[in-house]
């Protein structure tokens, strides 16, 4: 489903951010991507959502080779992914429901189905009561839930989260983590980049650990399964 094969990634004016990374993320899997700041976690995620292309090696996501991918194909790929960040990236001049609806509007969803879809995901993240609130009126944990709702509204096969709890206190962080677990239980794969070890200890999910751009540990690595698909 997501497959890295001997991936190297060098930024234009930087050293290698990722060295010889190979792994395979399966359908409905929950993965921790851990490592210190600068280890290469965000780089791995950016390669998945085709923000960057590998310098060498190959990245395959849901049948797309991201090397040389066109901008049109990138759009198509991203409609199948959900992405959330540490800083939420909400539009501050739009309400909760407008922020979520935005993701549907700009991808050409029929107007009639937008309302019900938005309400469904807002209910799922527990924010149906705050549909008309603006981001400024919400707590950090609530804002991240809005961002997650927006990521979910296009029914992605995988949710990619880059330090989603980095700006949250422990209580809010645990709430968001619980939400991600629930989402995974419903069949959506989750790739969670974090250096919050509290979360990593709370669940026994596969953990890929990076250090200076190298995978130094992968609790679920199975090279035989890498071969198929």
């Amino acid at each position: 489903m997501i497959k890295f094969n001997k991936v190297f990634m060098a930024y234009p004016k930087g050293s290698l951010a990722l060295k010889d990374a190979s792994f395979h993320i399966k359908k409905s899997e929950f993965i921790f991507l851990t490592g210190h700041s600068g280890a290469g976690k965000s780089t791995v995620l950016r390669l998945i959502y085709a923000e960057h292309q590998p310098t060498s090696g190959e990245v395959r996501v849901s049948g797309y080779h991201t090397t040389g991918i066109s901008s049109r194909e990138t759009s198509k790929l991203r409609r199948r992914l959900g992405i959330v960040f540490q800083d939420f990236r909400l539009l501050v001049d739009r309400t909760t429901e407008e922020n979520v609806a935005f993701a549907l509007e700009v991808t050409g969803t029929r107007r009639g189905v937008i309302g019900p879809k938005v309400m469904r995901v807002l209910t799922q993240v527990g924010l149906a009561g705050k549909a008309r609130s603006y981001p400024g009126q919400l707590s950090g944990g609530e804002q991240q839930r809005v961002a997650i709702a927006r990521a979910l509204v296009n029914d992605p096969f995988v949710l990619i989260a880059d330090e989603p709890t980095g700006n949250l206190d422990q209580r809010a962080a645990r709430g968001v983590f619980q939400l991600l677990q629930d989402i995974n239980t419903n069949g959506t794969a989750v790739v969670l980049a974090t250096h919050n070890l509290d979360l990593v200890r709370r669940a026994n999910y596969r953990n890929i650990e990076l250090q200076d751009g190298e995978i130094v540990f992968d609790s679920g690595n199975d090279t035989r399964e890498d071969m198929d698909e």
Binding site: S75, R79, F102, A103, E105
Partner: protein, 285 residues
């Protein structure tokens, strides 16, 4: 489509001063171009008026038989450059002199013999009233056996040509300069709009909006601003035209098609400027 119009409307509402500024700058740029256009239009009309009077006079030798003159007239009429040929007999020339030069009526009246020669007056077709063609036709006329003299104000026609060339050149230059200025101004306002909406654009990208979709509202915005600027420019030009008419001289205004062309030009300018700017600045978001 409705969504795009909503986005455009929102962008006007979110940045009213920026939007107004770009419309005003486009309007002003096109207003100045339009002013020049008005001058050119009126100059062209005046020139056409003068050119209308450009003619070649071929004086005939004394004693040229009427039949020869008539035959020559038919011959000259068949020149591709020639619109009309008028045969003015010596008597007719005298008659005309008497009526036109009132002061000398007595002098002419006393004449025993007519001192004026007969002539053929040749008028060229509109496209051939420039110095080069006039000289060419005149050259050909000297070839007739009974031609005494050919007159055609060579200097004068050449000056007219040069004036028209200079007018056209200045028009092109000023027009291009202002077009460039408005492209830069529109480009800058679009750039500011792109920067202002950077977070929106980043999110659009993230959730899988296509580049075309992201670009469209900016292009539409540029086109609408250009069209509004063009309309404002036409209105300003009309006001200027009215003011000149009231205080100075009677002038002509643009035809509807020319006014439409200014609006169309503004629209295309807005579209072009935003296309260039969006293409360049979306990459940086």
């Amino acid at each position: 489509m409705r969504l795009i119009f909503r986005e455009v409307f929102l962008s006007f509402r979110r940045t009213p001063s920026l939007s107004a500024l770009s419309i005003i700058t486009i309007a002003f740029a096109l207003f100045v171009v339009g002013l020049f256009g008005l001058v050119a239009v009126n100059l062209r009309l005046a020139l056409a008026d003068i050119e209308e009077r450009v003619e070649i006079v071929m004086y005939l030798r004394r004693g040229t038989p009427r039949a020869a003159a008539v035959a020559a007239r038919a011959d000259i009429r068949s020149f591709p450059e020639v619109e009309s040929v008028e045969y003015v007999t010596a008597d007719a020339a005298l008659e005309r002199a008497r009526s036109e030069l009132v002061e000398f009526r007595d002098v002419f009246g006393d004449l025993v013999t007519n001192p004026l020669p007969a002539s053929l007056e040749i008028r060229l077709k509109p496209g051939f009233r420039d110095g080069q063609n006039v000289a060419l036709v005149a050259q050909r006329l000297t070839g007739f056996r009974f031609t005494d003299d050919v007159r055609f104000g060579r200097e004068w026609i050449a000056k007219l040509d040069r004036l028209r060339d200079i007018t056209a050149a200045i028009g092109l230059f000023v027009g291009a300069a202002f077009a460039l200025a408005s492209v830069i101004i529109i480009g800058t306002t679009i750039r500011m709009a792109v920067i202002q909406r950077a977070s929106e654009i980043a999110i659009m990208r993230l959730v899988g909006a296509t580049d075309g979709f992201i670009r469209r509202p900016f292009l539409l915005e540029g086109a609408i601003k250009g069209a509004l600027g063009g309309l404002a420019a036409v209105a300003l030009n009309f006001a200027a035209h009215q003011a000149v008419n009231r205080t100075l001289i009677e002038t002509s205004f643009f035809s509807d098609a020319q006014a439409g062309l200014i609006v169309l030009f503004g629209t295309l300018l807005g579209l072009l400027a935003s296309a260039l700017s969006v293409r360049k600045h979306l990459r940086q978001v």
